[in-house]
Amino acid sequence: MSSAALLILVLTLPVAGILLVVVGGGRQARGISLAVLVGNFAVAVGIGGAVCRTGRAVTYSSGGWTAPLGIQLRADGLSVVMLITAAVVALAVGVYAPNEFAVRRGGVETRRSLAFWSLLLAVSCAMNAIFLGNDFFNLYVALELLTFAAVPLVCLTGTRATLEAALRYLLFALTGSALYLLGVALLYGNYGTLDITKLSGLVRYEPGMPLWVAVALMTSGLAAKTALFPLHLWLPPAHGGAPPSASALLSALVVKGSFFLTVRLWFDTVPGQAGMRTGQLLGAMGAGAIVVGGVLALKQERLKLLIAYSTVAQIGYLFLMFPLAGHVGALSGGMLQAAAHAFAKASMFLGAGLMAEVAGSDRLDGLRGMGRALPLTTCAFVLAALSLVGVPPTGGFMAKWQLLSAAFSAGQWWWVVVILCGGLLAGGYMFRAVRPTLVEGIQPAAAIPRLREWVVLALAVCALLLGGFSKKVLELLDIGRPQITEMRP
């Protein structure tokens, strides 16, 4: 097996895990899943090593059938960064997962134990498939896999509100993927291939209205699945209502899946071809997300809803990379933001879960005294908040730095204003989230295993380290990128 075969391994390992969990039942689910997730992480790192070593993208054609007839998997710098991020978050969520998802030795399988672990592995599998896919239809299947993993995670508790949120999420996500598929169909109809590399070669010589119809359809479909403002209707109830482990996965990873595809579409398939206006439009929606999400987060009274609205706002930053495409820092800034937000947001949701377990609810005014009850979690909470606000030297800061740098070199100062306003709003809502935990107060005694607290802290530290090692990450992101020779006029 060559190192390229690692690509197929990282795809099939979680699948094998799902099968084992389904067959083995809930009893062994935790052990199997954790083993698979550790393996997944190791393989992801292995792919990263291979990419770094060769300095080029690693590709693999399944079954030896080369594109365009066959399906190619391709790992470049972007894939590697996101693969490792996703692997870390998934593993952390697995370790964190509370007893409610475990079955005691000799006990019988429960609904949640079976569902949670197989869905966790499925999220991992789908994320890997999305990060490695180089074929738009293959990516469609991966995207749907992600949806099917994400929707039931929302309503794992089975309360009416979460069921409704899940249904709404499912329907909107389906609408989005239908539009995406429509675009894919048009691409095939025009170019006779779905392979991203091949397509990027073809569209350069034959752009035209059908291409832009396809791109518009795919982009808006993906934006719906990413919950980009104003298409965020499903996100707050879904992410705010799901169990914390699930919310962490949903906010940190799931929305990044469709976003990553958008990046593939704009930066790999039609690089430098779209006019100024499309990018500005996407950026404007991102700006709307930053402002509206930020203000709404400020108004929330429940911690998890606050964090969910903060996700709406943070997604906005991701889309600022599109108007700045072609300028140094746009792509890397967006990807850094995706990774940093993944770590920080996962940490916050998991931390919020622990706090809610202790306090009995996640109302903000009930969190006093958390600093004493859960010192590690509170510490993680503060760190994660700092990253989301973009305080140096966190990953969030480096991401903003890159985006600002791109905005300046593009001469588009308005994005600077947006980013700065977003920073202030983020400071405000994160302050609202963090402050009660630091105030003196009395919390009921609850036995939270230390390990779970450490996981939360580890994720926050990852967000911090991402800033510290941002230079390395930026170098890695550049590997295997198509050379954009022509800049936009």
């Binding site: 239809f137 099917f148 249904l167 609408t175 239908a178």
Partner: protein
Amino acid sequence: MSEIFGFTAACLVGLGLYGLIVHSSALRKILSFNVLGSGIFLLLGVIARRGAAAGLVADPVPQALVITGIVVAFSATALGVALIRRLDEDDEEEGEP
């Protein structure tokens, strides 16, 4: 000639989208989603038919994509209906305590 179906496909997409927007009940949205999906599949079918070459009456690749797509659409329908049923059951329990 297969353009006729191309137009039909476009209309189906439009119908599906219209239904998705206006319906308040989830079941009808799922139905509309299926209409929308059928439109997309039909478009792929037209593309496949147009790609007839090398002695094949149609390009098999889009056809295979449609088959995969149908499976996915069915899975989505099943999940959606399961959610609707569950919500209905909850309604009943609340209505008849």
